[in-house]
């Protein structure tokens, strides 16, 4: 579904990604972890072309992201993305947030879009909040709305960029629960996260990045059982022992 081949990216002369290659098959859940500044957020933003890259190739459902001839808005509409800081549109109500792209990008009718939005809002447990503005919701609620907003587009895959990092501890689980449910339903997911509990429960594979490179790309059991690289061992010992 997502094929990443030898991706390299520079900011000026500073190399942020070095020859990263991996793939996410249909229905697979891949967790990307690593210390901050390791390039994991940058890599996931390359997948839907939010960040340009200078070398290599990324294909999503067979379509090349870096090809100038690719209709990027059309491709992006098929890939859901959830951000660290939610990024709901503050001037719109929750239901307007859910329907905007359905109507403007997919050309659905307002009624169809609203029905779809309300169904997904119900699924993340927030049907009662439909007419509120994002500023009146808690962080956890905002992130659940953001997940529902992405799902409204019937995505073929979902990208999560540290979806729980900006949340208070007591709100992390309400978001993770939604993500676990999504994974169990067979959604193709690529998640940048430090939530190793989530990785243990639903990930098929874990990718460990450091200094812009993919250091480890292993099945979940191999990764948690015996990571091959010393760097990954250190990282795991630091984030698991507290």
């Amino acid at each position: 579904m997502i094929e990443i081949k030898d991706i390299s990216k520079w900011y000026g002369t500073f190399q942020v990604l070095t020859q990263c290659s991996t793939r996410v098959s249909k229905g697979e859940v891949v967790v990307v972890c690593g210390p901050s500044g390791s390039g994991k957020s940058t890599l996931i933003k390359c997948v839907n072309g939010l960040e340009p890259f200078q070398k290599g190739e990324i294909r999503v459902d067979g379509i090349s992201v870096g090809d100038p001839k690719t209709n990027l808005p059309k491709l992006r509409a098929r890939i859901g993305m959830v951000f660290q800081n939610f990024e709901l549109f503050p001037h719109m109500t929750v239901s307007q947030n859910l329907t905007l792209a359905q109507v403007k990008v997919l050309g659905r009718s307002q009624e169809a879009a609203l029905a779809k939005g309300m169904a997904l809002l119900d699924r993340v447990g927030l049907k009662a909040q439909a007419d509120k503005h994002p500023g009146n919701l808690s962080g956890g609620q905002q992130q659940r709305v953001a997940i529902a907003r992405a799902l409204c587009m019937d995505p073929i895959a979902m990208l999560f960029d540290e979806p729980t990092s900006a949340l208070d501890p007591e709100m992390i689980n309400e978001v993770l629960d939604v993500m676990v449910q999504l994974a169990q339903e067979g959604m193709t997911m690529m998640c940048v996260t430090h939530e190793m509990g989530f990785a243990r429960r639903v990930a098929h594979r874990v990718i460990f990045m450091d200094h812009g490179s993919i250091v480890e790309d292993a099945t979940k059991d191999d990764f948690f059982g015996k990571p091959r690289s010393e760097r990954a061992q250190q990282f795991l010992s630091k984030i698991l022992h507290h």
Binding site: R76, G135, D168
Partner: protein, 253 residues
């Protein structure tokens, strides 16, 4: 000081035969408002366009926008007024130039004055629009883009509605400025409020009464604008966000 106060002067007939002096002042006010409102329409439209192109990822568009702002922001308004009135008709194709010069009064001066005030203020509006867009988090644009919105759609539905809300207070100040700056148009013979007050002074020699009236009228008009801006700010406030009557504090934290 030997000054003969005469507050009833406003109800006396003006020698230009059009009516009372008060009537003259109100006709002047009419031209001031027409000038300010038309110029404001131009300023908002051009200012938003130029402000937006200065924030797009396209470098050459950004440069054009920057050049526009620096040009209109860094030349005195009075000089710009003269340029539009005296120089512009000579620079455009001859037929158009002749047509402009033959426009009957007051249009021959009013049209250049509107264009001048509009472009001058648009540079300032553009600067504010740019600042407003740049004050939004980069993730907002990304979120719109990630949903499949095109760049123009992202601006139209995501970035501009918030950016314009943020800059309503400074835009209000710009609107007050445009009303006050419209007085400069008297230098190219637009008989707006200040010019009317001066005409009244010249005919009647009642300089204090004439300019007291102009002062009070400007003050009242601008106070109305201030009140209107407050109403607008309240009307467009986003619930849950900080600001005048932005609603209750966010739930949670």
């Amino acid at each position: 000081m030997h000054y003969h106060w005469n507050w009833r002067i406003y109800w006396q007939q003006s020698p230009d035969g059009s009516g009372t002096y008060l009537h003259t002042l109100f006709v002047g006010l009419g031209w001031t408002l027409a000038l300010a409102l038309l110029a404001w329409a131009i300023a908002l439209l051009l200012g938003i366009v130029v402000g937006v192109i200065r924030t797009t990822p396209l470098r050459w568009l950004e440069r054009i926008g920057n050049a526009y702002v620096e040009l209109f922001r860094n030349i005195p308004l009075l000089v710009q007024m003269f340029l539009w009135y005296f120089v512009m008709p000579e620079l455009v194709p001859t037929a158009l130039g002749d047509w402009i010069k033959q426009m009957p009064p007051p249009w021959g001066a009013f049209v250049p004055a509107v264009l001048c005030l509009g472009t001058f203020t648009s540079a300032r509006v553009a600067e504010q629009v740019r600042a407003g867009i740049n004050s939004l988090s980069r993730g907002q644009g990304m979120a719109g883009t990630a949903l499949g919105l095109t760049l123009p759609q992202t601006y139209r539905y995501v970035l501009l509605p918030m950016a314009l809300r943020i800059i309503v207070p400074p835009l209000g100040s710009e609107f007050l400025n445009i009303i006050k700056n419209s007085a400069v148009a008297l230098t190219i013979n637009v008989v707006e409020l200040t010019a009317s007050a001066r005409a009244m002074q010249e005919y009647s020699f009642q300089v204090f009464e004439a300019f007291t009236a102009a002062t009070v009228i400007y003050l009242l008009v601008n106070l109305v604008v201030v009140l209107l801006m407050r109403l607008i700010e309240r009307k467009i406030a986003v619930p849950g966000l900080i600001g005048p009557s932005g609603g209750p504090a966010p739930a949670g934290h």
